[in-house]
């Protein structure tokens, strides 16, 4: 089952995002994800990775972030592990305000909201200074 798992370790730098994408694109190709699931996987990792890199290191500390994807019977399990400031991604944020007016539209917290909308499960655990966020993305059709 080794082929059904992909892991990449990168620096806590947004410039590393293409390396994360490349690993997950390879995983998607190997396990035969549909385009829809592949896109969701890439969107979710982008939101989580960019959140961590943007807000998790206010003092500019260096870190390595481990990103892995594994194929389950009816889901993809995406895991990010880092030593950033504690942050609980499992708390579902409020959705966008119900507005139909451009001026009233805001996007604060939208990234994590999207993650929760697409995922069946979002769990963050912190052990020994390591944040480990695990996301289950359904692979079955709705």
């Amino acid at each position: 089952m080794a082929a059904d798992v992909e892991t990449v370790i990168v620096r806590n730098d947004i410039a590393e995002l293409p390396a994360v994408y490349a690993a997950l694109e390879a995983f998607a190709g190997t396990v035969g994800l549909t385009d829809a699931v592949r896109r969701t996987l890439l969107l979710v990792v982008e939101e989580l990775f960019s959140n961590t890199v943007s807000y998790g290191y206010p003092d500019g500390g260096k870190d390595e972030i481990e990103v892995s994807a594994a194929l389950g019977p009816d889901h993809v399990e995406l895991t990010l592990a880092d030593r950033a400031l504690p942050f609980d991604s499992s708390a579902p944020p409020a959705g966008p305000a119900e507005v139909d007016d451009l001026d009233a539209m805001g996007i604060g917290g939208l990234g994590l909201f999207l993650v929760h909308q697409f995922a069946d499960t979002v769990v963050t655990e912190r052990t020994g200074g390591v944040n480990r966020t695990r996301v289950l993305l359904p692979t079955r059709p709705d």
Binding site: P18, D35, R39, T40, L43, S50, L102
Partner: protein, 121 residues
């Protein structure tokens, strides 16, 4: 005019009397600023309503949505619009979940986008 980063390439042309912008790639945290700057430049050139051909945009993250919102707000005072067309199902889902379908116009084809752009309101 063209723009090219590792994440996105952008070009535009004039068609049906509108500026038609064709990004290709991902609209994410790495590319959104390039995309936004490109569209801002068109707004500054008084290009009017912008039709965005999304056929080659793989997915849009919250950073991409932010850029779309900024440009739509820039266009609004002059009565111009931002109309997306040929949006793939994944991008459509993101627009729907995020509430953007209520504030942006989305068409199936260029012709339909042109019709929407011509309407008031």
């Amino acid at each position: 005019m063209t723009a090219d980063t590792s994440e996105i390439t952008i070009e535009h042309r004039t068609e049906e009397g509108f500026a038609v912008v064709s990004p290709a790639g991902k609209l994410d945290t790495l590319s959104a600023r390039t995309f936004e700057a490109y569209l801002k430049s068109l707004v500054e050139q008084k290009s009017g309503t912008l039709l965005i051909d999304m056929e080659k945009v793989d997915y849009v993250t919250s950073f991409g949505l932010r850029s779309l919102l900024i440009i739509a707000k820039l266009l609004a005072p002059s009565g111009d619009k931002l109309v997306l067309f040929q949006v793939n199902p994944s991008v459509y889902e993101v627009l729907k979940i995020s509430g953007f379908l209520k504030i942006l116009k989305v068409a199936d084809t260029l012709a339909e986008a042109g019709e929407m752009a011509g309407r008031t309101g």
